[in-house]
C-alpha cells in the first residue's frame, strides 16, 4: 500500500483539450467561478476559485482567512486556563474533543495525570462528540446532495439528545468548556449516566433507521461512488488524517496508535474503506459511529467512582516548567494537536493548533480535478470542515 518513494507532484488527471474551430478560431472558453465565500455548500465562509471547462473542473484553489481572528496570538497573550473556553470555538461542533486535546497537551507539558474517573468521563464525552459530529456530517452531506431537509432533521433530532446531556453536564450545549488540566471541571450530575445510557441505547436503532433510509439509496450511490477518489499514498504524503484517511484504506487511528487516555482498555475496531471515494467516506462515518456506541457501552458500564481532578493540578498560579510538548488526539475530523512552548511564565510562549480541517483540504484540488462542478460540492462536504478551525 505504501509506495517506497512518495509522490513529489500530483499527476494531472485532466487535460485541457484544444478547442479550435476549423478556421482556427477559439471555440468556447474556460470559465472562472468563485464558489463562496457566501455559498451554502461551503458550510461557512470559505471560497474556492474554480476554473471550469464546460462542467469539468480544470483548476481549483481554496481561499481561506474570512474567519481568521488569530486564535494563536490571543492564546499567547493570556494564561493557559483562559484559552480553554476559547478552544470550544475552534471546531464549534466538537467542543469536548477540542478541550480534551488542549488539556492533554498541557498535561504533557506540566506532567499531570488525570484520575481514573476523569479519564472515563473524557472517553464518554469524547465519543458522544464523535457521534454528534458524524451524525451532523452525514446530514449535511445529504443536504449538499439535494436531499433537502429529511436526513438533516433526522440527524439533528438525535444530536439534540446528546446536546441535552452536554447541557446538564457543563451548562452549555455547544461551548462546553468542560475539561481542566488534570481532570474535568465538575462531576457528573445525578442520573446523568442513566440518561446517557438511554441515549446510547437508542442510537443503534437510529443508525439502523438512517442506513435503511440512505445507504442503498440509488441516488446516493449514483452520486457518490467513484467520485473524488483519494489514493492512499497521496493521502499519507499530504498528512490527511481521520475518517478521510481511513476511507482510503490506511489503517491509522490515533486511539489505537497512541492509546492516549485509557483507550487501550476498550474493544473496538477501526473501519477501513477500499476505494477512497465519497461513498467510502460516508460509510466510514456510519461504521465509526457504531464503534463509538460500542466504546460508550463499555465506558458507561465500567466507570468507577472517585476524584475527577489530579490533586497536583492548580488553577491559579499555573506555571509549567520551561520546555515544550506536542499532544494529539483522534478528533472526529482527524488529528487534533496542540503544540505548546513554555518559558516559565503564566502565559504560553508558543501555542499552536494543528487543525485537521485545514490540512485535510490540501488534497481538495487533487480530488476535484476532472470532476463535474456539482460533485465539487459533495467532495467538499465529505472532507468535513468547520471554518472556525480552518481559519482560526
Amino acid at each position: 500500500m505504501f509506495m517506497e518513494t512518495a509522490i513529489d507532484t500530483p499527476e494531472s488527471k485532466y487535460e485541457i483539450l484544444p478547442k479550435t474551430l476549423s478556421n482556427g478560431e477559439m471555440d468556447g472558453e474556460l470559465l472562472e467561478v468563485a464558489m463562496g465565500p457566501q455559498h451554502p455548500s461551503t458550510h461557512g465562509v470559505f471560497r474556492m476559485d474554480v476554473v471550469l471547462d464546460g462542467e469539468k473542473v480544470v483548476k481549483l484553489k481554496p481561499v481561506f482567512g474570512y474567519l481568521h481572528r488569530n486564535h494563536e496570538k490571543i492564546a499567547e497573550n493570556t494564561t493557559y486556563l483562559a484559552s480553554m473556553p476559547y478552544t470550544d470555538r475552534l471546531d464549534y461542533l466538537c467542543s469536548m474533543t477540542n478541550n480534551w486535546a488542549y488539556a492533554l497537551s498541557v498535561e504533557k507539558l506540566a506532567g499531570l495525570q488525570p484520575p481514573e474517573r476523569a479519564e472515563y468521563i473524557r472517553i464518554i464525552t469524547g465519543e458522544l462528540t464523535r457521534l454528534v459530529n458524524h451524525t451532523c456530517l452525514v446530514g449535511f452531506l445529504l443536504q449538499d446532495m439535494g436531499a433537502l431537509g429529511t436526513p438533516l432533521m433526522y440527524a439533528f433530532r438525535e444530536r439534540e439528545m446528546i446536546l441535552d446531556l452536554f447541557e446538564s453536564l457543563s451548562g452549555s450545549r455547544m461551548m462546553c468548556n468542560y475539561m481542566r488540566f488534570g481532570g474535568c471541571r465538575v462531576d457528573l450530575p445525578a442520573g446523568w449516566l442513566e440518561q446517557a445510557k438511554r441515549a446510547v441505547d437508542s442510537y443503534s436503532g437510529f443508525l439502523d433507521e438512517f442506513e435503511k433510509l440512505l445507504t442503498e439509496n440509488e441516488i446516493l450511490v449514483a452520486r457518490t461512488q467513484g467520485i473524488g477518489v483519494l489514493p492512499p499514498d497521496l493521502a499519507v504524503n499530504a498528512s490527511i488524517t481521520g475518517p478521510m484517511l481511513r476511507a482510503s484504506g490506511v489503517n491509522y487511528d490515533i486511539r489505537k496508535v497512541d492509546k492516549y487516555g485509557i483507550y487501550d482498555r476498550f474493544e473496538f475496531r477501526v473501519p477501513l474503506g477500499d476505494h477512497g471515494d465519497v461513498y467510502d467516506r460516508y460509510m466510514i462515518r456510519l461504521l465509526e459511529m457504531r464503534e463509538s456506541v460500542k466504546i460508550l457501552n463499555q465506558a458507561l458500564r465500567d466507570i468507577p467512582a472517585g476524584p475527577i481532578v489530579d490533586p497536583k493540578a492548580k488553577l491559579r498560579g499555573f506555571r509549567p516548567k520551561v520546555g515544550e510538548a506536542y499532544g494529539r488526539i483522534e478528533g472526529p475530523k482527524g488529528e487534533l494537536g496542540f503544540y505548546l512552548i513554555s518559558d516559565g511564565t503564566p502565559n504560553p510562549y508558543r501555542y499552536r493548533v494543528r487543525p485537521p480541517s485545514l490540512i485535510n483540504l490540501t488534497v481538495l484540488e487533487d480530488m476535484c480535478l476532472g470532476q463535474d462542478v456539482a460533485d465539487v460540492v459533495i467532495i467538499l462536504g465529505s472532507v468535513d470542515i468547520v471554518l472556525g478551525e480552518v481559519d482560526r
Binding site: F2, G65, V236, Y252, G323, Y339, T362
Partner: protein, 213 residues
Amino acid sequence: MVMETLEQIKARIENAISGAKPEIIPNESPSAQRSLLLDPAHAVEVAKFLRDDSQLRLDYCSNVTGVDWLDLIIKEKVKVKKVVEGVEKEVEEPVERKRPGYLEAVYHLYSMALKHGPLIIRLRTENRADKNHVPSLTPVWRGAEFQEREIYDLYGIIFDGHPDLRRILMWEGFADHPMRKDYVEPDDYEYEPTPHDEVLEKTKQHHSPEPKP
C-alpha cells in the same frame, strides 16, 4: 513499535549524509520531547532520508509550525580570577551576552507505516530581518504545503522551493507578520485616514513619512 533513540538517528544521519550536522535540542519539561536541529543546507536531503529509510519511514508530517525567538540578553555570572587587595581571589562577575534573534520552523514527524513517532526536527533562519530563508520540505511531505504558507504569512519565514508561497490567512497586501512577538497591532483595524484636524494628526502618527525598512 518503538523508534530508535535520538542519538542513534543522529549518528545514522551523519553516516548517510556527509556534511549534515544535526544537533540535539534538549527539553527539560516532563514531556521530554527532544528535537533535532538541522542545518538548512542539508535539510531536504535529511528529510528524504528520514522519509525513505526502512527503519524510520517517517512518511507522515503531522504538524509544521513557526516560532519567533527575539534577541535575548543572557545574564550570567562568570568566575574570574582577580587580584583583590593584593591577594588573588576567584570573584563572580556578571557578564551580559546577546543571543541574536531568529525564526524557527518546527516539524513533527510520525510514521504511518510503522506507527511510531514523533521525531521533531527544527530549521532556523539566520536572523529575523533579511536572512529569513529556510528550505521548504513541501517537496518531501505535501502535508506541509498549507502549514508552510501559514508560517510565511504569520511569521515571515521564506521557504525556498515551496510550490505556491502566498499569504493564506491574512489578505494579499497586508504588510506585517502578526504572529511575531514584536508585532504592534493598530488601534483600529478599520481606521481609514481622512485629512481632518485631529484625524490628520493621528494619521501622521500611524503612517510615518519614511517607509519601514
